[in-house]
């Protein structure tokens, strides 16, 4: 127990350093892009005099030397003050907290969808291959996965909208809930779930394909091992062998990969949120980048990189749960 705690503390310490590094690098990177929020804001107004642009720069603190700006930003972050959005004229933390739940909901649904169906398809395919029966199932599932893996997410999303929203009219094409519906309770939950189907499937499909192929490969490797042969020789039915012995071992690489890929999923969420008008932070990040809204952009980067660090930490912990040998090593 003590050991686990000290490992956790060490990991958290490392994670803090990673986040600090990310903040500083991002701070430098966003300022390397040409243009600043004052130019973009003034440009949007159609015309403006340079005095106005200078006033905006002063207001945003952009007239200060870069190290001063960085120092102020870090001081703010240490006090949980992520700054003020020049463009939206609201505190960055408020803007992010307003959008974060939508992204977390979408990502967790897509993650669960991808993991459940990915592992399921991987197991079905490997079982068919291992048993030498219905091998066509293996071919169909793996070719399908390959196709989904190779298809751009946004294109899949657009096709899904055309088919399920426009042609069949089953699912809403955009938004998170019905506007002006004033729904509450379970009816509202149902409404959000209805809106969630298309974005979840679109975001999750790519990862589902990855997990399916990974599970299949890992399963076939484990199924070839001696302890499986022993179990089978002792008369354990195939289904039970897979469930109790093979899958648990085969899942280790899948869990590692899934944890690492959560960061990538956050990136994919930017596209999905754009196509489906999902009000999450992915879209907020894109807009902030286009408008050079430095503070907001840095805030979103900070939150997403913290999310990735936390996911990795959780992966480590889950890994230990699935395979107790790792904790003992």
């Amino acid at each position: 127990m003590e050991k686990a705690l000290s490992i956790l503390i060490a990991r958290l310490g490392k994670a803090l350093f990673v986040v600090l590094g990310v903040v500083i690098i991002n701070f430098m990177l966003v300022r390397m892009a040409p243009g600043d929020p004052a130019t973009v804001l003034a440009g949007e107004s159609g015309s403006s005099d340079p005095a106005y642009v200078e006033e905006l720069r002063k207001e945003f603190g952009l007239d200060q030397p870069l190290p001063v700006q960085l120092g102020r930003y870090l001081w703010g972050v240490a006090h949980l003050d992520l700054g003020y959005s020049y463009r939206e004229r609201l505190p960055v933390l408020d803007l992010i907290l307003d959008r974060l739940p939508a992204t977390l909901l979408l990502m967790s649904c897509a993650f669960v969808f991808a993991l459940v169906f990915g592992v399921l398809f991987g197991v079905i395919a490997s079982r068919a291959r291992y048993a030498g029966r219905r091998t066509w199932l293996d071919s169909v599932l793996m070719t399908g996965s390959l196709l989904i893996y190779a298809t751009p997410q946004f294109w899949l999303a657009l096709l899904a909208i055309l088919f399920f929203s426009l042609h069949l009219g089953w699912l809403p094409p955009y938004g998170m809930e019905q506007v002006g519906g004033n729904l509450s309770g379970w009816v509202r939950v149902g409404d959000i779930a209805h809106h969630l189907v298309l974005p979840t499937v679109s975001l999750g499909c790519f990862f589902m394909a990855v997990y399916a192929r990974l599970t299949r490969a890992s399963m076939l490797e484990v199924l070839g091992m001696d302890f499986i042969k022993t179990a089978r020789a002792k008369g354990v039915p195939l289904g039970e062998t897979i469930r109790r012995h093979a899958l648990r071992n085969a899942l280790l690489p899948v869990v590692t990969f899934a944890g690492i890929q959560l960061g990538q999923m956050a990136g994919g969420a930017v596209l999905t949120e754009t196509v489906f008008g999902w009000p999450g932070i992915g879209r907020l990040m894109f807009d902030a980048l286009m408008q050079r809204d430095y503070q907001l952009l840095l805030g979103v980067f900070l939150v997403t990189s913290t999310m990735v660090v936390v996911f990795n930490l959780l992966t480590d912990l889950v890994y230990r749960l699935i395979d107790p040998r790792i904790g003992r090593a």
């Binding site: 892009a33 040409p34 440009g43 949007e44 107004s45 403006s48 340079p50 196509v275 879209r283």
Partner: protein
Amino acid sequence: MSIKLPLPTARLLKIAACSLALTVGVAAGAHAQTRGGTLRTIAQPEPPTLMLGLNQQTPTQYVAGKIYESLLTWSPDMKPQPSLARSWTISPDGKVYTFELQPNVKWHDGKPFSSDDVVFSIDKFLRTVHPRARVVIDQFVQSVKAQGPNKVVITLKEPFAPFLKSFVSDNMPMVPKHIYDGTDYAKNPANQTPVGTGPFMFKEWKKGAYIVLTRNPNYWQKGKPYLDEIVFNVIPDAASRAVAFERGDVQVVSAGDVDNVEIKRLRALPNVEYTTKGWEMFSKLAYIQMNQRRAPFNNVKVRQAIMEAINRKFVVNNIFFGLGKVATGPISSTTPFYDGNVPAYGYDIKKARALIKDSGVDPSATTIRILSYPYGATWDRLGEYTRQCLEQLGFKVEIESADAGTWAKRVSDFDFDLTFSFTSQYGDPALGVSRLYLARNQVKGSAFVNNQGYVNPGVDALWDKAAAATSDAERQQLYSNIQKTLVQEVANGYLFEMELPTLYSGKVHNLVQTAIGLNDTFADVYISK
């Protein structure tokens, strides 16, 4: 919230309403205006704020133009119409403007609107924060004074003919003094829940999802507006916006909401109306900016050759899907003082090559970098087409891509060879056109000034004279001369007058009625059953 009336009263009211509607319908020979209903449309991109005094981006104007009003509004033929001012007079010397305000106007929070609000808006608020209005106010306005609660007198330092055209909601919105006076305007919490005098009040904004405006029951135009609510959906993807319109989830899509390639298909859907009206105040004109501080564009013959080498009809018809009209000069045909008799450039590649030969420039030794205009695929195609045209003249051409921030920065710093742009003309050459050509407007830091570095002191004198002249005939003559010179010297490469389509459900009526079209108040818009 709904109010329940006793049955006989309700019935009587219904009968009265029906007979009134019938009378109006017969008189107008049109639909009777129907009260009620929700108009669903799109805000694209999502506006950063709804405080129109602080931000004038097109989507901000679209949404907040229903909340805030100015003293005047403008008819499609650019004639002033009453809004918060019911009448106005201009002194014979063109220096004193007197506005009589509408009586009994209330802010959305119930406080009365008065001449004090007008004085505060112009003299303090807009003078401090409005990027365009402050230039006019600082340069021309000597004093703004209230004479009683319903009268305002504005005295100018010198005559400025288009001054009245400043009074349009995005340029001079009236803001409440009791909320803003003595505060930090940019950080005032009221910016999140804007308070205006318009026919619709702010109700709800779920960032990233939708904005809802609700009917102002105390609007000063009795009986209006007709709609109960307006919902502006935020749908970031163009294809999804087209689907939303096709499914009937939204009833209006405006220019830029959907890709130009979709317009023809959506227009052919049943019960869909189409208009390109409602942009007269803006009259956007697209042009090529050639940096005249650099070779080879410092040579007027090269600029003329480029005009002869580009087939602008092809650009309009094939790249911009026919949504436009070839420009003849710097002033749009829908902007006052346009002169259609200016000698125009044709499409003549032989003439273009001859001009290059005369210029003494060796195109094979010259590389031109085209800075792409970062507003969608059609502009990228225009860049590629221009590249082919310049290559036909023998130039070496490279295309540099940029996002909006990079483009603005490089153009503001004069760091480009050739790029594209389009600007609004704001109903008068002195408001929207001269800023692109005056030599004193070559100032770094803004992308919409004289970035191309055109210098002609003679033309500068004409611009100043025309802005101060009070007779329309005199102004016309001066602007005609300016147009001839600018076209002859290719101060910019005039491409086309942009046509910006609006598509809407046939059940929606009175959508586009003024020179600012969709950005107006929607007080008269109604949905038939």
